[in-house]
């Protein structure tokens, strides 16, 4: 049965290879090949899953050793896969949602002549992501880690002829690289501490390691997580990443890749449990990000960017939960999965809306679309209810548990974190309602105007090919797009409930992550009540602002906070001023110095010798007599020398 694990990765990898090397002759069938192979991988996943279910909890870890990767004196890296409950969960999420989104993309990318390559990249991403979650040691995980980074780079910059897209892709990769730096340093630390970086040995010897080392490792892992999961302070790339095609945003920047950071933290539970300081840092990052993302989400008029903000904030929840230790791990993963469903669904919905609206992304030019695209409306709405944590839907279960766990952390930390989580919930309710209202309700602001608005250029250049700048004719998307949305909607409705009934998700994951019931100062009921209150407040405020009075088609200037939030709370400006400008000046001055100083010293020496010889040349005036003088003088010196020799 272990043999199958490799196939999980092999299938999409094969797909990527075939599609990318296949050339134009595959253009007609390429997308179906990609979809097929990802589905195949999903099927393998299901087979393995049933197999795991067949075993009892202790024996649910499958190890497949393929070959020795880097054998060097004292340094052993293997290509080994580890399939346990945690990675199983991810495998199913990735391949499942992945396949759905493949299907969706078939319709969505229909008009793009580079569709084959798009699917190649998608398969490449699946392979890398699976490698990431299946790796049995951190170095192999690192391969997957950067692999998904590459895939996201390629996919964000898929429309490379758009400078904005290319820049966004580069930015994403660079910011991720900073995170990767953290990961590689963490691996080095592990190597120096444990002499290995395979999961088994590392987690086995944690108690033997010094506190300081463990904390350092934890913080470095956190840095990596921040990079990949767009947590403060490395969150700035996610917003721009929306330059990519919407399916990409759904799959990579909502459902799977961005959650890799959470996976990393949960996977390294043993390390974090032994390093409370690192854990605290994790929780802080999580809390800050969930508020940060939420606030940003409130101000964006670009529907995808708003959703990106919410993604950020939801992952903030997960990280927060993961930072809480055994109390939270399970719920972090649970929220991750449910979030995977509804956020993917929301993005696909957004994509469908844009599809119908000539790729318009500015919500201020939407409105009243529910009549025109009912399926999208329903699925999107369900996803909306799920994310704001409407009782009974999946978001409710996972998020509620996280807030509970936050309070259960105890002490002032508990209160602060819990409070943050609650506020987050309120804001979530607000901005999601806002999106909902601006998109599907209110009067139809897209009427009587060309949707191509100069100040908000569309993300999808496909329209430019079609050259449509006329008034849009909203229409429902084709089946191939709606079916995945429906499936995801179902998942986002029932997922949470399904997992929570009898805590089966808890029992499923417990052997890997471990679990402990924190005793919370506030009872579960109270937390739920509080959450509900926040939810209602959020929705109410949103309704008051966007439901009752009409939405202005051009964004009002807004308060200081709003404007800051529109600019991602000035984080980009900070980066630009400090890093970009500073970097530019640094490099420029260095280039100058290299030319003048380092090179100048050498050239200066050369010039000096040149001048010296020029002077000496004067002596050679060509007059035989002056040469004779020098000869004579030399003779005199010789005589003197001989005499001196004789003397001494």
């Amino acid at each position: 049965m272990e043999k199958l694990i490799a196939l999980l990765i092999a299938a999409p990898l094969l797909g990527a290879a075939v599609l990318l090397l296949g050339g134009r002759r595959l253009d007609r069938v390429g997308h179906w090949i990609g979809t097929l192979l990802s589905t195949a991988s999903f099927v393998f996943g299901l087979v393995l899953f049933t197999d795991l279910l067949g075993r009892n909890a202790e024996h649910r870890t499958l190890i497949q050793h393929l070959w020795t990767w880097i054998p060097v004196e004292g340094f052993q890296a293997d290509v080994t896969f580890r399939l346990d409950q945690l990675s199983m969960t991810f495998v199913l999420l990735i391949t499942g949602v992945g396949s759905l989104i493949h299907l969706y993309s078939v319709g969505y990318m229909e008009h793009d002549e580079r569709r084959r390559r798009f699917f190649g990249y998608l398969n490449l991403f699946l392979a890398a992501m699976l490698l990431l979650v299946l790796a049995d040691n951190y170095l192999l995980l690192y391969v997957g880690w950067e692999g998904v980074g590459l895939a996201s780079y390629l996919l964000i910059g898929f429309w490379q002829h758009k400078p904005s897209a290319a820049t966004a892709a580069k930015k994403a990769f660079l910011v991720n690289r900073v995170g990767d730096m953290g990961l590689s340093i963490a691996i080095m630390l592990m190597f120096t501490t444990f002499g290995s970086f395979a999961f088994g040995p590392v987690f086995g010897h944690v108690d033997g390691a010094s506190q300081g080392k463990l904390t350092a490792i934890g913080l470095m892992l956190l840095l990596a997580a921040c990079g990949k999961s767009a947590q403060v302070p490395l969150q700035s790339w996610l917003g721009d990443a929306m330059e990519g095609p919407t399916p990409v945003s759904a799959l990579i920047h909502a459902a799977t890749m961005v959650t890799a950071g959470v996976y990393l933290i949960v996977r390294s539970a043993a390390v974090f449990d032994a390093a409370p300081d690192a854990q605290l840092a994790v929780t802080v990052v999580g809390a800050v990000t969930l508020l940060f993302g939420a606030i940003v989400g409130c101000a964006k008029d670009d529907i995808k960017k708003a959703l990106a903000g919410s993604t950020m904030s939801q992952i903030g929840y997960m990280v927060l939960a993961a930072g809480l230790g055994p109390i939270g791990y399970v719920f972090a993963i649970m929220h991750l999965v449910t979030h995977g469903f509804f956020k993917a669904g929301l993005f696909l919905g957004a994509g469908s809306v844009m599809h119908g609206m000539n790729d318009e992304v500015d919500m201020r030019r939407y409105g009243g679309l529910r009549k025109y695209m009912p399926v999208t409306f329903v699925t999107f709405g369900l996803g909306y209810l799920a994310i704001i944590g409407f009782p009974g839907l999946s978001g409710f279960f996972s998020k509620d548990k996280i807030i509970e766990a936050a309070f259960a952390k105890g002490g002032t930390e508990g209160w602060i974190l819990g409070g943050a989580a609650l506020v987050g919930a309120a804001i979530t309710a607000f901005y999601m309602t806002r999106v909902m209202l601006m998109t599907f309700f209110g009067e139809e602001r897209w009427k009587n105007q060309a949707t191509r608005s100069p100040e908000a250029p569309s993300a999808e250049p496909a329209a430019e090919h079609r050259g449509e700048t006329a008034e849009p004719h909203p229409h429902e998307s084709p089946k191939v797009m709606t079916i995945p949305m429906i499936v995801l909607a179902v998942g986002s409705v029932f997922g949470g409930g399904f997992f929570s009934i009898g805590d089966r998700f808890l029992y499923w994951l417990e052997p890997v992550t471990g679990h402990s019931e924190g005793h919370s100062p506030v009872s579960a009921g109270e937390v739920t009540a509080a959450t509900m209150v926040c939810l209602v407040i959020g929705v109410a405020v949103a309704w008051a602002q966007y439901g009752r009075k009409p939405v202005p088609a051009v964004a009002p200037r807004g308060s200081l906070l709003t404007r800051a939030a529109r600019r991602d709370l000035l984080q980009d400006d900070f980066n630009h001023v400090v890093l970009v400008r500073g970097g530019e000046h640094l490099t420029r001055s260095l280039v100058y110095l290299d030319h003048t100083l380092v090179d100048g010293v050498v050239n200066g020496t050369a010039a000096g010798f040149g001048g010296l010889s020029g002077r000496l040349r004067r002596l050679q005036n060509g007059f035989a007599r002056s040469y004779a003088v020098s000869m004579f003088g030399g003779a005199a010196l010789l005589v003197a020398a001989t005499l001196l020799m004789r003397a001494v």
Partner: protein, 99 residues
């Protein structure tokens, strides 16, 4: 008196000749100065042969004379042709060694 004085004289003459070579511009005079130096050497040789009491020094002096004769012949020939080429016998005019 000690014959070493001859050596002193020889040294003196040699030096005078050398200095002459350096300061005179007329090729012929330069040549004469060279001859002077040669003669000084000869004197030294002869004196040495006397000091050591064998004739080798004289033989050498003899050869010196022969060589000097040959040298003068060629040298003067050169001067003449040089003078023909450029109507002067000044050493400095032939300052073509400068690139």
């Amino acid at each position: 008196m000690n014959p070493v004085n001859y050596l002193y004289l020889a040294g003196l003459l040699f030096t005078i000749g050398a200095t002459g070579v350096l300061i005179r511009r007329n090729a012929i005079v330069v040549f004469m100065c060279v001859e002077l130096m040669l003669n000084a050497c000869n004197l030294a040789f002869v004196t040495f042969s006397r000091l050591h009491g064998n004739l080798d020094g004289q033989v050498i002096a003899f050869f010196t004379m022969v060589v000097a004769a040959a040298e003068v012949v060629v040298g003067l020939a050169i001067i003449v042709s040089l003078f023909r080429a450029r109507h002067s016998a000044s050493v400095d005019d032939a300052s073509l060694m400068k690139l």
